[in-house]
């Protein structure tokens, strides 16, 4: 099953399957993973990076997506490429002899997900090729809200927003403070049949009651349907990105993905 995601910003890892190049790794940024791997394998004259050109064939094995902006993703890309220069990753040990490049890069990214500023972003870790998949080491588990998932992903262009719908929408009140809500700071729950509408800031403060020292919420219970929702999902919903939300809302009604982990 291919998940389609709008407003896609991802940082990926390529693996070289050519025995001559012994499992080399390349880290890059893309807004369209399927197009990007094609570019890499076609060489630099067709859009691929110089460093990967002619050194293939490459497989895109892992991608971290869900970055809310290109800047956030690019900063992540740089830090993953230069863990020993990044001031946030000074605790990450250099590659040991027995560690393959793939294992090392997996270890680095596992560490990165546990560290600010990435630990509160609504990211998804996705292995695109099952045969390469690795699990998180017990001491390097990611934050609970970051899922580990498998399967292909397709970047989708956002359909032209239903602006008309917004103008015709009846006047709504925030469920938390009672004041009228303007479209620019309107949040609504994406669970089917939930009618909850609130101000951006009201709901953020509600979610942050559990974490008073933070400014950016990670998750909380919807005051309408009481489902646990990720702040990142609410924002994506606000921005018209519905692609991966269906996956999330259908799975959360059954069980939390962590329940299915075998620890």
């Amino acid at each position: 099953m291919v998940v389609e995601v709008e407003s896609f910003y991802g940082v990926y890892m390529l693996y070289c399957t050519n025995p001559k190049f012994k499992g080399r790794i390349y880290i890059g940024f893309t807004v369209n993973p399927e197009r990007r791997i094609g570019q890499h394998n076609a060489g630099r004259h067709r859009g691929g990076a110089k460093r990967t050109s002619g050194r293939g064939p490459w497989e895109m094995v892992l991608i971290i997506h869900g970055f809310p902006s290109d800047i956030a993703a690019l900063r992540f890309e740089w830090a993953w490429q230069h863990p020993h220069s990044s001031r946030r990753l000074s605790h990450v040990a250099r590659r040991s002899r027995k560690e393959s490049s793939l294992q090392f890069h997996w270890r680095v990214v596992s560490s990165m997900l546990r560290v600010a500023p990435w630990s509160r972003l609504p990211l998804t870790v996705r292995w695109l090729k099952q045969e390469y998949r690795m699990d998180f080491a017990p001491e390097l588990q990611p934050p609970l809200h970051i899922p580990l998932t498998f399967g292909c992903v397709c970047a989708k262009t956002k359909p032209q927003q239903e602006c008309k719908e917004q103008d015709e929408r009846p006047v709504e009140r925030c469920v938390l403070c009672g004041v009228f809500v303007k479209a620019t700071d309107r949040l609504s729950c994406f669970h089917p049949s939930c009618q909850m509408v609130s101000h951006l800031i009201c709901l953020a403060k509600h979610f942050l009651k559990a974490e008073p020292s933070h400014l950016l919420p990670v998750e909380g219970k919807c005051p309408g349907c009481h489902h646990s929702v990720l702040w990142g999902s609410l924002i994506r919903h606000k921005n018209g990105c519905y692609g991966d939300l269906e996956e999330i809302s259908s799975s959360s009604s059954q069980s939390h993905w962590t329940d299915e982990l075998q620890l």
């Binding site: 291919v2 389609e4 390349y26 880290i27 890059g28 940024f29 893309t30 807004v31 399927e34 197009r35 990007r36 094609g38 570019q39 076609a42 630099r44 004259h45 067709r46 859009g47 691929g48 990076a49 110089k50 460093r51 809310p68 902006s69 290109d70 800047i71 956030a72 690019l74 900063r75 890309e77 740089w78 830090a79 490429q81 230069h82 220069s85 990044s86 001031r87 946030r88 600010a116 500023p117 990435w118 630990s119 509160r120 972003l121 292909c152 397709c154 620019t184 700071d185 951006l200 800031i201 953020a204 933070h214 400014l215 950016l216 919420p217 702040w231 990142g232 924002i235 606000k238 921005n239």
Partner: protein, 241 residues
């Protein structure tokens, strides 16, 4: 006349850390010092400024722009020299070289979404996480270490409050939109909150707030548009699986 209270400086130290390399070279040249690596030039200029402005003290109790006591204590009794040096223009963007560097990188990486050498900040060789120079947050020798920690905590709280009290700004944070670092710093300064660059970055990091060092008018989306245009001509269109 020799009270211990903070003296009003006649000529505050220019923002050497925010100057670009040619300007630093030029200033050092006036003192007959050869061009050095940038960091060393900044330090050297600060040192020279202190030697020539000996009774300078900081503008506020906590914040200093360098060690209070000049290295040769014997001269501390002399009257401040009243040089009139032009004060540095307020820092708009951290490094003025940035835009041209980025353009070069962009033209070099036209063939890809982003080459592996692209980084949004500075020269590929240097660490983009040091994109903003450390200016006012150097050692606070005038107060004790524990006092410094307390002052810093207050300032961090002030920054936090500042964000919370500005609904537009807080709305940006909540929607994961990057904050312009230059704008934020100048707003904080206008609000009287003086926090060093490195500490501010650490705070933003700890709160998982993304910041942008882009110069005004040259934002990420305009850069991205340029890149998309060049790649679509060359990209291979694959059907979605």
């Amino acid at each position: 006349k020799r009270n211990k209270g903070p003296l009003v400086p006649i000529t505050p130290m220019p923002g050497f850390s925010d100057m670009d390399t040619p300007e630093l070279k030029n200033r050092l040249n006036r003192f007959g010092v050869r061009p050095l690596p940038k960091k060393q030039m900044v330090l050297k200029l600060k040192e020279i400024h202190q030697y020539t402005h000996q009774l300078q003290s900081s503008e506020s109790e906590e914040e200093t722009s360098g060690p209070q006591r000049p290295p040769n204590a014997s001269n501390s009794q002399s009257a401040p020299l009243s040089f009139k040096q032009p004060t540095a223009p307020p820092a708009v963007s951290p490094v003025k070289l940035q835009p041209s560097e980025e353009d070069e990188l962009l033209s070099a990486s036209q063939n890809s979404d982003t080459s592996s050498t692209f980084n949004p900040f500075l020269l590929p060789r240097s660490n983009p996480e040091l994109c903003v120079s450390e200016d006012d947050d150097s050692d606070t020798e005038g107060i004790t270490a524990s006092q410094a920690v307390v002052c810093e905590k207050d300032k961090l709280l002030a920054v936090r409050q500042f964000i919370l009290s500005d609904p537009k700004l807080y709305a940006r944070v909540l929607q994961y939109q990057p904050l312009s670092l230059a704008e934020l710093r100048s707003s904080l300064k206008a609000a009287g909150i003086r926090l060093g660059a490195a500490k501010l970055l650490d705070f933003l990091d700890s709160q998982c707030i993304t910041f942008s060092t882009a110069k005004q008018g040259q934002n990420a989306s305009s850069r991205r548009k340029r890149r998309v245009k060049t790649t679509t001509k060359k990209s291979v269109h694959l059907p979605c699986a």
